[in-house]
Amino acid sequence: MSLNDIPVHSASITTGNLRPVLHEIRHAFSELIAHGTHGMIDLHSLPFSPQEYAELDEFLGEGEIDLTLNVLGKTRLRESGYAGIWRVEHFDDNDNRIGYFIEIGHVPEILRSQCDDIKEGLAAMTTILAMEEDNNEDAIT
């Protein structure tokens, strides 16, 4: 029997945290348009009832993108019904959700290729190209 098989009765309750969070998202949304600021809200550290999580999901709706990354366990990125508002869920190796953020931006930060990685990639590509060209020259000669 797994944990999910145990029937849990939970009266429907609200912590009252949903409304403020929705307004926070809306504010971050307008900041993105006005100043291009990337916004991030940590949902995991807020006391939400299961019902409120569901209400939030319903409010945001589903968008076009649903990506799964394989980084230290899975990370799932879903654009909401509002373009520019993303759900970012981090999972560990056992698929337990260990982090839940709302990101407001063109793409979630984690999706971007990281500058250092790009630099390192450029350096690596340069080296490889140089090595191949050296080899070709050797072959010609």
Partner: protein, 370 residues
């Protein structure tokens, strides 16, 4: 966890993590989760990343005194490669007598060497309380806990007291405290001490504190020496059952309708309102739940003297001790004293009545005439 001998070149944490095959994207995820675990705003993530990138892997010496190994269990039972595991990997654990491979003299030797090598820089982690009544109650390699703590503390950059025993004395200190147990802070006065209480503490909190120490140094502490980031709010404040408390809806027993409906457990002894910990948000068992979600009140394990808090199943407002009987004894004492003072009053009044001299008009006129 790796036991490694002192290395002349100390790689930074970032380098170390990458050498473990963790990408920068992974690092970013790690930093995001770390910020969440340290209860920091997501805006802090780049700063954490930058700080971690540059941080040196610290040497950590872990001493276990009068303890049950629950704190170590809490930490190591977290599934790997969990966030906790990653952080733990980021340190150089040079001595931990439960986890290390070495034993006997070799183990103690490793400790002494690490203390010498990193004098003034290592982090000392302590779990368990220290007995003061008789040093023989708890020794390691023939050295009393007190002596070992003092010696190890002397060269430590900071001390992390993990678990309620190390932080406040915990179970060993519970009434009648047969070993004369005390906390680390009762003995060590000249070093920064971070208390990470809990019985056991939440693994995420242990690593969160270590991460904070690595990135931003000593965290801000409350009056009981706990990092405010994790212990800043009471269980009650962040409890999902709080709305029931507000509405005055309480479970009266563990099997009544209220309990089934998930009402507030205050009357069943929940210590949430006076307990500071991150359980309600961080949760246990890889984020599954925390005790109140399972229908049991908070027992206040991250607070000093929680064993003697008047019973796990008594509401916090209830006085400890036999109050009802006390009131009866008091009433009896009151009656005894009342009878005595009543008799005195009666006597006094009777004397006044008997010594009354009849007032005559002659007297009245004499007085007014004078």
């Amino acid at each position: 966890m790796r036991m490694q001998s002192p290395n002349p070149y100390e790689p930074t944490l970032g380098e170390h993590l990458r050498s473990q095959g963790i990408s920068r994207r992974g690092f970013l995820k790690f930093c995001g989760l770390l910020a969440s675990s340290m209860a920091l705003a997501p805006a802090m993530i780049p700063k954490i990343a930058a700080a971690l990138e540059q941080a040196k892997r610290p040497s950590v010496i872990w001493l276990s005194f009068q303890e049950c190994t629950g704190c170590t269990e809490s930490l190591t039972r977290s599934h790997s490669p969990s966030l906790e595991g990653l952080v733990f990997d980021a340190i150089s654990l040079d001595y931990h007598h439960t986890l290390q491979a070495a034993s006997g003299d070799a183990a103690e030797h490793a400790r002494e060497e690490a203390m010498k090598e990193h004098y003034g820089k290592y982090v000392l982690v302590v779990d368990g309380s220290i007995p003061l009544d008789n040093p023989g109650y708890s020794t390691i390699a023939g050295i009393s806990n007190l002596d070992m703590l003092k010696e190890a503390a002397a060269g430590a950059a900071a001390i992390i007291a993990v678990g309620t025993c190390a932080a406040y004395g915990g179970l060993p200190k519970a009434d009648p405290n047969p070993t004369g147990a005390v906390s680390v802070s009762d003995i060590i006065k000249d070093k920064p001490i971070i208390n990470v209480p809990g019985c056991p503490p939440i693994p995420m909190v242990i690593t969160g504190v270590i991460a904070h120490f690595l990135t931003f140094g000593l965290p801000e502490l409350d009056s009981l020496g706990r990092p405010k980031a994790f212990y800043g709010q009471s269980i009650h404040d962040r409890c999902y059952r709080r709305p029931f408390y507000e509405r005055g809806l309480f479970a009266e027993t563990f099997d009544d309708e209220g309990a089934k409906a998930g009402w507030c457990l205050y009357k069943l002894g929940c210590k949430g309102p006076v307990t500071y910990n991150a359980c309600a948000t961080t949760k246990w068992n890889d984020g599954t739940s925390f005790p109140i979600e399972s229908g049991h009140g908070c027992i206040g394990c991250s607070e000093p003297n929680f064993w003697d808090f008047g019973g796990f199943y008594k509401a916090i407002s209830i006085p400890t001790g036999a109050s009802g009987k006390n009131a009866v004894y008091a009433a009896a004492a009151g009656i005894a004293a009342g009878v005595a003072i009543g008799a005195m009053n009666k006597k006094s009044k009777a004397e006044a009545a008997s010594s009354h001299q009849t007032v005559t008009v002659e007297e009245l006129n004499q007085e007014s005439g004078s």
